[in-house]
């Protein structure tokens, strides 16, 4: 035997599914115009102080528990010092000697059936950097920087160097993606960089225990890239060893275009980052209450979920069954229901509109472009009578197709909602003329007939009339009090 067996370890950066950044109240969403999500904290302006996002802590703890890790009761933040234009403060706030969680494992399904356990080393919280857009080679104008992503919350998950092949590494990443997306830790949207991966690769001689120097490969941002980049790196190292060359300890960058890795820089030593505890941030204490809440959540198997959807959320058994057919559906439904506070409405929408969209994308939840929070917000508007169901469905379909925000989609679908003025007045008149019997019934005290008239107004407005306003005006026309 010789230096031949690959030894691979992964460092996976998972963007936590929060509304705001790790240490400030700037939005952590994707797709805003450049430098629209910044403040003195994430730009590193003098005098600004970081304040930790509770939800990021909760999601990181949830990830740690899902991965069977031991949560450190008192972890702490450190500064990692280096200069790069996308790092405004000149240091990154991360965790170093006391990470949030250690140990743990993830079960990865094997191609031939069964499963293998991948051992994990640690999980820590850290802030993301900004984004550099480099000018084309030879071009003028320098590099451009967008700090929308600077300070976004990441959990970095580090495996033990125990993956034996590029395929195994890619399978691990797929399993990690599925697990954390189901747990609601991340959106899992690969195209938005929700999961990014670096790998450490070396070759080992099992007979002697000798190994080559570790090479770090960066920029592995899709499952396919991981496999291709690692396959390239393993064969590059094998060729180097075969020709008697030394594999140098360095960092290499994967270029998806050529399928090859190229040297980025020599590996820094640990001291170069000059880690030290961040004096702006006291220790992060994870209390028993948070641990208990998240443990309870983790233990739910599909059957338990189904029971809970029935008993706590009051769903029919049929709904509970459909919603627990897979983890993604259940997680999506729960997030929608939590936001709109109407489980049955959430269930109806997920079982029809949402599953239809997912099916159209071959069952790939990561391609559903509407975040459950966004759908929940849309349903809340329907419940408040500010949006008709018909318009909401059109808005959802448009959001799913274009990735637009709800407000943008509403405007694109024919302007603002009709909630007052002559347009609404004319629509109400038409509805009263078209449904004289319902109007009579309401006047005679049968309030339920009012629904028929509201429906008529909505139909005639193409779904654009605000149901609440239509109802109010109809009541006034029929001689009732405006409010019920």
């Amino acid at each position: 035997m010789a230096l031949d067996v690959p030894v691979i370890g992964l460092e996976v950066h998972v963007q936590l599914r929060t509304r705001t950044k790790l240490f400030c109240g700037c939005g952590a969403g994707f797709g805003a115009p450049p430098n629209h999500l910044t403040c003195p904290v994430c730009l590193g302006l003098p005098g600004a102080l970081p304040v930790l996002n509770a939800e990021a802590v909760r999601l990181a703890v949830r990830a740690a528990l899902a991965l069977h890790m031991a949560v450190t009761p008192h972890s702490r933040f450190a500064r990692k010092n280096y200069f790069y234009p996308d790092l405004p403060k000149g240091y990154q706030i991360t965790q170093h000697d006391r990470p949030l969680a250690t140990g743990g494992w993830l079960e990865v399904p094997l191609p031939g059936g069964g499963a293998a356990r991948v051992a994990l080393a640690q999980l820590h919280l850290e802030e993301d950097s900004g984004k550099s857009l480099h000018a084309a080679a030879g071009g003028a104008g320098g590099s451009r920087l967008d700090f929308n992503r600077a300070g976004a919350p990441l959990a970095e998950i580090v495996t033990e160097p125990c993956l034996g092949s590029p395929e195994e590494a890619a399978d691990f990443l797929r399993a990690l993606h599925a697990r954390l997306t189901f747990a609601g830790v991340t959106t899992g949207r690969m195209e938005e960089g929700a999961l990014r991966c670096d790998a450490n690769v070396s070759l080992r001689d099992p007979a002697t225990g000798d190994g080559t120097e570790r090479v770090e490969v960066k920029n592995l941002n899709s499952f396919r890239f991981v496999e291709r980049a690692l396959a390239h790196e393993v064969s590059r190292q094998r060729e180097a060893v075969a020709s008697g060359a030394v594999v140098a300890r360095e960092t290499r960058l994967f270029d998806p275009g050529s399928g090859a890795t190229a040297v980025l820089r020599e590996k820094e030593t640990f001291e170069d980052y000059r880690y030290f505890p961040d004096p702006d941030l006291p220790p992060l204490v994870v209390g028993e209450a948070l641990l208990a809440q998240e443990r309870h959540r983790r233990d739910e198997a599909p059957e338990a979920l189904r029971t809970r959807f029935r008993t706590e959320m009051g769903l029919p058994d049929y709904d509970a069954g459909v919603l627990t057919q897979d983890r993604e559906t259940a997680a999506y439904f729960e997030a929608v229901a939590r936001r709109c506070a109407d489980p049955k409405a959430a269930s109806n929408w997920v079982m029809t509109e949402v599953l239809r969209q997912v099916k159209a994308h071959g069952g790939d939840w990561t391609r559903l472009r509407v975040h459950p929070e966004e759908l929940g917000a849309l349903l809340a508007q329907v419940a408040e009578g500010r949006l008709s169901t018909a318009l909401a469905k059109a808005v959802f379909a448009r959001m799913a197709e274009s990735g637009e925000e709800a407000g943008t989609a509403v405007r694109a679908l024919g302007g603002p909602v009709v909630r007052d003025g002559e347009t609404l007045s004319a629509l109400v008149d038409e509805a009263l003329r078209a449904q004289p019997r319902a109007a009579e019934d309401v006047r005679a005290g049968h309030g339920r007939a009012l629904g028929v008239l509201v429906g008529e107004v909505l139909r005639r407005s193409g779904g654009r009339a605000e149901p609440r306003a239509a109802r109010r005006l109809l009541r006034v026309r029929l001689g009732l009090d405006a409010e019920e």
Binding site: G25, N35, T38, A54, S132, R265
Partner: protein
């Protein structure tokens, strides 16, 4: 405890990491200052902290995950030495340390 707090090589390495190019006069002035700071820290390290009464360690305050308005793009870019089309602009970078 008696070895120099900051070796010549160590001082040179720090300059490189801090991207500073110091003249000989600047170095002669700054090095003793830095040594004095490090010497102070070294004295603190010598304290017997183990036997001291451990105070209650404050926990990091947590903030609810609620968005708050930040800077407008114009305000954010106002202090930038160079900006264009909504971006900060810096001299061309291709390679360098990443996170």
């Amino acid at each position: 405890m008696d070895e120099p707090v900051l070796s010549v090589a160590g001082f040179a390495a720090l300059q490189r990491l801090a991207r500073l190019r110091l003249s000989a006069e600047e170095a002669a002035r700054l090095r003793p200052q830095l040594e004095a700071i490090l010497g102070y820290v070294r004295r603190l390290e010598a304290l017997d902290a183990e036997s001291a009464e451990a105070g209650e360690e404050a926990a990091a305050p947590l903030r609810p995950d609620e968005p708050r308005p930040g800077l407008s793009p114009g305000e954010a870019l106002a202090a930038a030495p160079d900006a264009s089309e909504g971006f900060f602009r810096v001299p061309r970078v291709l390679k360098g340390p990443g996170a």
